[in-house]
């Protein structure tokens, strides 16, 4: 997808590359096992020693974390993830159970991990897991169970409008399994509101699995007006994970939603003006600040880097062996030369000897040398002489001047009947030589003519350019456009061939079948016997068409780019409007590419670097994911965003039911881990302001600790009189059943 970024050509690229500081790399965080948690019996001892009836175990049963502690303490003692793992080690014959972060201590345990809550909801769906988590809580809180029970009252939070079945199951477990003396339920966000001294206002609670808006009037929640948006931190993390997987489909590192939860915390924020900020988010200026890089662990491929010395040694060695070879060759050549010279001397001697010998003697001598006649001897001598001279000039390094001597064609003119047998043979030989000679001359002339033609063409071209520059340029431009189109078509064809169902692939399969078939379909249709394949040169193109894969048309591609380069060079030289920026290279350069900015940020990407392959660039996602809570349609959630819900509650539903709504505006209260995003309150305030009458008093505030205040509120409430009247005792449970619930200001209504 990203264009080649290995050789940035435009000046802008090189400049920015030089001025950009090295990127800041963030490391991925994820939940992991930390340490063994000791049991803390001191809290239990203190609770027992205090007056009975004033202390309780407070459990904030949240879908992200189960927080548990004592009502008389400032903060919860336990913060554990509601996960559980049980497996049987067959080798040891032992069953293991782990709860919370302990699950991450062992790979086997991690594989058996289960969550107490139904995915993306605050409703408990796995009661075996829930029981184990409660076991763990009571163990770590040091309950000694001296009388076979958890002899402390329990205060627990539950989801808004919790399902009756879920509440009944929980109540059963608390009273039947743990035999607790009493139990009270409440809603986490209302505890948080109460802890922050809220009386009348709109509670906006965005937590791990969902977002709730609950109006509260005089400390009493108006649950009939409560609204839930099915989006929270866990959905955001899943959404981010989905986006990252799509963004880097071949990412080599391991991605999981726990890492994404941390990435949300560390890198994401709510945009104050989403559309405005979004439209310039991938712009070049300042991208290095907006683009956060998460570096996953990787192993660098070790490229054995040879030292300078080693390289020199290797070069030296190579040169040495080359020299040795050269020497050997020279030696061999010299030996050959000497031998040839000796031969030459011998034959010259022979020639001299022959000169004053009788004809018979000559014949004998020549026969002993395997020669036919004196002419043959002459020829041999001549040849030897020539080759010796050639070798000599080569040795001294001079040019070998090919002496072109017009061969002797004298016999060709003589009629056959005037020649003897030897003459006839000679004539045949001469004829052969002549045609050879003539062919060579023709080829030479052809070459000359071609050269002249090219020169002429060039001259005409130049002339045309001088006379009609515009027309000439237009020609070039057209040619270039055509070439670019051709390259694009080729690319598209290649892409299409990757898809088995595309038209291109189907045509290809058809031609293969046709070629392989003994009775090609086309022939039969035409009715001819001979398919005259090959009569047209283009017929062979079918083999090029069906070839796919590596190197199928590399040469042609090479050709295209060479041609394009030449055309662009011409245009650069003569066309004043055609600048560096217009070349195809510059246009497909990574500095122009939005996709590159999206995937790889403002720096060039090196395909070979393992480090860069293991990087995740968060840019648009940083505002895109948190935005979902304001625009759920982004993630395909068919619900209104929180501004719309809040405005509906404040301007339509509350006034409609006769409650003065101005009081609610004074206190828009934010709680829950998901409101920790930067700008959350500001964004909600600005969004609401647009929906309210001008000048309406609007105050938003955040809980002091959006995460822990629910537990703290529950702990404070647990000591008071409201708690005493709202708790269901064991006796009441036994009498009235599992669905029995006492309503109170901070809890759910019976339904």
């Amino acid at each position: 997808m990203a264009p080649s970024a290995t050789e940035p050509t435009s000046t802008q690229a090189t400049e920015s590359q030089n001025t950009l500081p090295p990127p800041h790399l963030y490391l991925p965080r994820e939940t992991h096992f930390e340490k063994y948690l000791e049991s803390q019996p001191d809290g239990y001892r203190k609770a027992v020693s205090q007056l009975s009836g004033n202390t309780a175990i407070v459990i904030d049963n949240g879908s992200s974390t189960t927080r548990a502690g004592w009502s008389f303490e400032e903060s919860p003692r336990l913060n554990i993830a509601p996960i559980f793992s049980r497996y049987r080690d067959r080798k040891l014959g032992k069953t293991y159970s782990f709860v919370g972060a302990d699950v991450y201590s062992d790979t086997n345990a991690r594989g058996h991990m289960r969550n107490a809550f139904e995915a993306a909801s605050g409703i408990v769906s796995n009661w075996d897991v829930m029981e184990s988590i409660l076991d763990y809580v009571f163990l770590k809180l040091g309950i000694d169970g001296a009388n076979g029970s958890v002899d402390m009252p329990i205060v627990m939070t539950e989801a808004v409008a919790n399902l009756p079945y879920s509440r009944k199951s929980m109540t059963e477990i608390i009273f039947e399994c743990y035999s607790a003396p009493s139990l009270a339920y409440g809603i986490d966000s209302l505890f948080s509101y109460d802890y922050n001294n809220g009386k009348t206002g709109l509670v906006v609670s965005s937590s791990h699995s969902s977002t709730h808006l609950i109006p509260v009037l005089n400390s009493k929640a108006i649950l009939s007006q409560a609204t839930r948006l099915n989006w929270g931190g866990s959905q955001s993390a899943e959404y981010l994970l989905k986006l990252i997987r799509l963004k880097y489909p071949t990412f080599p590192g391991k991605l999981n939603s726990s890492q994404m939860e941390y990435a949300l915390q560390d890198h994401c924020y709510l945009s104050k003006d989403y559309d405005l900020e979004l439209s310039t988010y991938l712009d070049w200026t300042g991208l290095e600040d907006r683009d956060h890089i998460i570096q996953y662990p990787y192993t660098e491929e070790v490229v054995v880097q040879k030292s300078e010395e080693e390289l020199a040694r290797i070069a030296e060695k190579r040169k040495e062996s080359g020299r040795r070879l050269q020497e050997q060759a020279a030696k061999a050549r010299l030996e050959k030369l000497i031998r040839k010279e000796q031969e030459l001397d011998y034959y010259r001697d022979l020639q001299r000897k022959i000169a004053n010998e009788s004809k018979k003697e000559v014949k004998r001598l020549l026969d002993s040398e395997d020669m036919k006649d004196e002419a043959a001897l002459e020829r041999t001598i001549k040849e030897l002489d020539k080759s010796i001279r050639k070798a000599r000039t080569k040795d001294v390094g001079g040019e070998v001047e090919e002496e072109v001597e017009e061969p002797d064609f004298s016999l060709l003119e003589v009629p056959d009947d005037q020649l003897d047998e030897a003459g006839l043979k000679q004539k045949r030989h001469q004829r052969l030589m002549k045609s050879n000679h003539e062919a060579r001359a023709r080829a030479k002339a052809e070459k000359e003519r071609e050269k002249a033609r090219v020169a002429e063409e060039k001259r005409i071209d130049e002339e045309k350019r001088e006379n009609d520059l515009e027309g000439w340029l237009q020609e070039r431009r057209n040619a270039r456009a055509e070439l670019v189109q051709k390259m694009k078509d080729r690319e598209r064809l290649k892409a299409d061939l990757g898809n088995r169902k595309s038209l291109a692939s189907q045509i290809r399969m058809k031609s293969i079948a046709n070629l392989a078939s003994d009775t090609p379909t086309k022939k039969r249709r035409r009715g001819g016997d001979d398919d005259n394949f090959g009569a047209n040169d283009d017929d062979w193109g079918v083999y090029r068409q069906i070839a796919v894969g590596e190197g199928s048309d590399d040469d042609e591609e090479e050709d295209f780019s060479a041609n394009l380069k030449a055309l662009e060079a011409d245009l650069l030289k003569y066309d004043p409007e055609f600048t560096d920026q217009h070349t195809l290279d510059a246009q497909t350069d990574w500095t122009k590419s939005l996709v590159h900015a999206f995937l790889r940020g403002p720096r060039p990407f090196d395909h070979t670097s393992q480090q860069e392959a293991h990087q995740i660039h968060l840019n648009v996602e940083r505002i895109r994911v948190p935005e979902v809570i304001f625009q759920p349609s982004i993630a395909g959630l068919d619900q209104a965003g929180i501004v719309e819900i809040a405005a509906d509650i404040l301007t339509q539903r509350l006034p409609g039911s006769g409650v003065p709504h101005e009081a609610f505006l004074q206190d828009i209260f934010l709680t829950g881990g998901n409101v920790l995003f930067q700008n959350f309150d500001e964004r909600l305030r600005e969004g609401l302001r647009a929906c309210l009458p001008a000048g309406a008093p609007l105050v938003t505030r955040r809980a002091k600790d959006p995460v822990l205040d629910a537990w703290k509120g529950a702990a404070r409430w647990a000591g008071g009189s409201a708690w005493r009247s709202a708790a269901v005792s064991r006796e009441e449970y036994l009498e009235k059943g599992g669905e029995y619930l006492k309503e109170h200001d901070l809890g759910n209504a019976y339904s």
């Binding site: 076991d135 919790n162 879920s166 009939s224 979004l278 349609s633 395909g636 339904s751």
Partner: protein, 189 residues
């Protein structure tokens, strides 16, 4: 057997220490035997509740009269007001009536107490936010940037022609994954 490895031994010790299965839990009732099929997902719970309610409905509301507290034990078709005809038929409806009336009483009490007699009780399903009335903005499925265009072939929204080029080179099924992130994918049933 593999030779004892100090690391592995330390790990074994650690997980033995972390394990809570072997620990004694004296605070648990040893006779607690939970229902084997208590694990239900939300869909099943709501389905059960709806079925239960549906079975209550005909006895409660099929009269259509505004006197629900009096008449609904009479399901006989004879029309005369003699509900106590046989002892057998008294016992069964009376149980149903008792439980039904309790829930109804609570409901009515709630309606009176919160002052909004028309508002229904909050349940897990009815507090869910309604679909948005606002016009949804279109964002590029690939980059998240504002998207003025839609590709008719893949139905993906895109930001500019470069992204369009990317869309057209996507592998098979990838476009559907992008649609799924936006909840616009085709669901085959």
């Amino acid at each position: 057997m593999a030779p004892p490895n100090p690391d592995a031994e330390a790990h074994q010790q650690l997980i033995d220490k972390l394990d809570i299965h072997a620990l004694r839990k004296p605070f648990r009732n040893p006779h607690w035997r939970p229902n084997q099929r208590r694990n239900k997902n939300i869909k099943a719970i709501i389905g059960d509740a709806v079925r239960k309610e549906a079975s209550l409905m005909p006895t409660q509301d099929n009269s259509g009269a505004a006197t629900p507290l009096v008449d609904d034990s009479i399901v006989s078709t004879d029309g005369d007001n003699t509900p106590l005809s046989t002892a057998d038929s008294v016992m069964q409806p009376n149980l149903a009536q008792a439980s039904r009336n309790l829930s109804k009483l609570v409901l009515e009490k709630n309606l009176r107490s919160n002052g909004m007699s028309m508002a229904p009780n909050a349940t897990y399903t009815n507090i869910e936010s309604a679909p948005s009335l606002a016009h949804p903005r279109h964002y590029c499925d690939i980059t998240g940037l504002p998207a003025p265009y839609t590709d008719p072939k893949t139905r993906l929204r895109y930001h500019n022609k470069e992204i369009f080029g990317v869309i057209r080179t996507l592998g098979q099924g990838v476009a559907e994954q992008y649609l799924e992130a936006r909840g616009a994918h085709t669901v085959l049933k």
